[in-house]
């Protein structure tokens, strides 16, 4: 099944969700943040996309984007790529941990390094850096860090 067919089927099934079709090397489906959990639920339960491979945050000049790569261990095909935009000021998206528990650490990583919050996440704390670190290093405007401590 091609990505275009998947998109057409989803668009017919959810007329209330405004979905976008993004053509490229890997074709993606653009979802609005508030519709993400509903669509994800459908993808897992009815379309057998039981395996969420990776969750990535990208810092574009005008927006943040989170990319979800979905595969199925039961049937051929994939990936179905969902893209969600978040605004630059105080980015916030719904969490998909309740649908794919694997999202837990991946969303924590996106929060830690990219600074996108996920509402409904059970434990949204920093994972790679320490608690109390300021800033989100993978943002393009991250200034770099400095140390006071040098062994003399």
């Amino acid at each position: 099944m091609t990505a275009k067919e998947t998109f057409d089927r989803l668009a017919a099934k959810f007329p209330q969700f405004p979905l976008g079709y993004l053509e490229g090397k890997d074709t993606a489906i653009l979802v609005k943040g508030e519709n993400l959990v509903g669509l994800a639920q459908h993808m897992r339960d009815d379309e057998e996309y039981d395996y969420c491979s990776s969750i990535t945050g990208v810092d574009y000049p005008d927006r943040f984007e989170v990319v979800y790569h979905l595969y199925s261990t039961k049937k051929e095909g994939g990936p179905v790529i969902l893209k969600v935009h978040a605004e630059r000021e105080n980015p916030m998206l719904p969490s998909v941990v309740s649908i794919w528990p694997t999202a837990n650490w991946q969303e924590r990583e996106v929060w830690d390094l990219m600074g996108i919050r996920f509402s409904g996440h059970p434990n949204l704390t920093r994972i790679l850096m320490w608690e109390g670190f300021e800033g989100h290093p993978l943002r393009k405007d991250f200034p770099g860090s400095e140390d006071e401590y040098i062994f003399g």
């Binding site: 790679l128 850096m129 109390g132 770099g144 140390d147 401590y149 062994f151």
Partner: protein, 192 residues
């Protein structure tokens, strides 16, 4: 009084007279036990150095001790990150005197390829006094062996009279850095 008079004839061919330093350092140099502390990639070459092909046991180092309290050499085998730095310093403080540090690989020397990283300490010598540097990414087991021989040379050149760990006034404990909002900070109460 010559040597002839003091040494009884039955001991003449059995006694070996040497300076205390020489004999003491010989014993120390031949039994340096490293702490089993693999940080990153280089740890693997360190493990390989222990195996039969390279055989670290030839130099009296067959044991990688799991506890810092039983070891005297810390092979910093890889990138020290800022998140790891307090633990590295604490491990060093827990080792009994005399103690040595061997910086293995480009990362431990200067941060190596990861020098630009926001979470990387640019060289473990920013945290600890380093005795031997081993370049390479990762160094071959042979170069680690060579570094250990260099360390032996250093140990055998030391003398008890000036070694800092026998002096009462010398404080060799290193303050453990703390996590700050932008990087590592000096421990509180030590802002002098």
């Amino acid at each position: 009084m010559t040597q002839e008079d003091t040494v009884p004839p039955e001991l003449k061919r059995n006694v070996f007279i040497a300076p205390v330093d020489w004999i003491y350092n010989l014993g120390r140099a031949a039994s340096v036990w490293p702490v089993m502390f693999g940080v990153a990639c280089c740890a693997f070459e360190m493990i390989v150095t222990v195996t039969s092909r390279f055989d670290l046991a030839r130099f009296g180092m067959e044991f990688l001790r799991a506890s810092p309290r039983q070891s005297e050499l810390m092979i910093v085998s890889g990138t020290v990150t800022k998140k790891m730095a307090p633990q590295v310093v604490r491990l060093y403080d827990q080792m009994p005197e005399p103690k040595y540090v061997l910086a293995m690989g480009a990362c431990a020397i200067s941060g190596g390829p990861f020098k630009d990283g926001y979470n990387v300490v640019p060289g473990v010598d920013k945290l600890l006094p380093v005795n031997v540097y081993v370049p390479g990414c990762p160094p071959r087991p042979e170069s680690l062996l060579d570094a250990i021989l260099k360390l032996h040379k250093q140990i055998r050149a030391e003398t008890i009279r000036t070694s800092p760990w026998y002096r009462k006034d010398a404080d060799r404990e290193i303050p453990v850095p703390e996590y700050g909002p932008r990087g590592l900070v000096l421990p509180k109460g030590d802002k002098s």
